[in-house]
């Protein structure tokens, strides 16, 4: 079975500052890793994913995450945040790329302060 730990439940950060949202997973099999974002009063949207290949993956809005197998981590980073990045972020793991069953972390609430 897989599990995901997001240690930081809330992360406040000033606008234009860098941010890192931490995600660690445990699994006895190869995994596929995802970050989802949930804006207020909306469903979850896929932000980025690691399936194979390069361990550094990027999203279209400046976020990136690095798969570190030895550390069993998939931390999400952005060098300079905007007010519009305020949202809940969920890390998820699946044993298959099609994600027939995901395991989600408890989420990290990112608040960007003007």
């Amino acid at each position: 079975a897989q599990s995901v730990t997001q240690l930081d439940s809330q992360v406040p950060v000033f606008e234009e500052a860098p941010v890192e949202l931490r995600c660690n997973y445990s699994s006895s099999v190869s995994v596929y890793l995802f970050w989802y974002v949930q804006y207020p009063n909306q469903g979850l949207q896929l932000l980025l994913k690691y399936l194979s290949g390069s361990t550094l993956v990027e999203s279209i809005n400046g976020f990136e995450a690095e798969f570190n197998k030895s550390q069993t981590s998939f931390h999400l980073r952005k060098p300079s945040v905007h007010i519009s990045d305020t949202a809940e972020y969920f890390c998820a793991v699946s044993a298959s790329p099609s994600g027939n069953q995901f395991y989600f972390g408890t989420g990290t609430s990112l608040t960007v302060i003007p």
Partner: protein, 112 residues
């Protein structure tokens, strides 16, 4: 783009009522899922379905049932709503060739 539509954004029901939450997807996805989302607990899987008329229990199926009579529709049923079922309910779908879920906008259910 794949669209997953949940029929209600907000629902208020009384304890003991039978509640139906509807989810429809428009991209012929085989796999559909129901999660509930609670603060500090993240998303927990209630039920999922890989095909019409089939269903599998997730991590927290107690107090819920599901129905999938057509490929595009996956319904979550609360047989007798209780206050501890007050939550945000999220539906998601994916195909065997897709990578990652597509989620609906969620239904915030309050049971009073």
């Amino acid at each position: 783009d794949v669209k997953v539509t949940q029929s209600s954004r907000y629902l208020v029901k009384r304890t003991g009522e039978k509640v139906f939450l509807e989810c429809v997807q428009d991209m012929d996805h085989e796999n559909m899922f129901w999660y509930r989302q609670d603060p500090g607990l993240g998303l927990r899987l209630i039920y999922f379905s890989y095909d019409v008329k089939m269903k599998e229990k997730g991590d927290i199926p107690e107090g819920y049932s599901v129905s999938r009579e057509k490929k595009e529709r996956f319904s979550l049923i609360l047989e007798s709503a209780s206050t501890n079922q007050t939550s945000m309910y999220l539906c998601a779908s994916t195909s065997g060739d897709d990578y990652g879920y597509t989620f609906g906008s969620g239904t915030r259910l309050t049971v009073v």
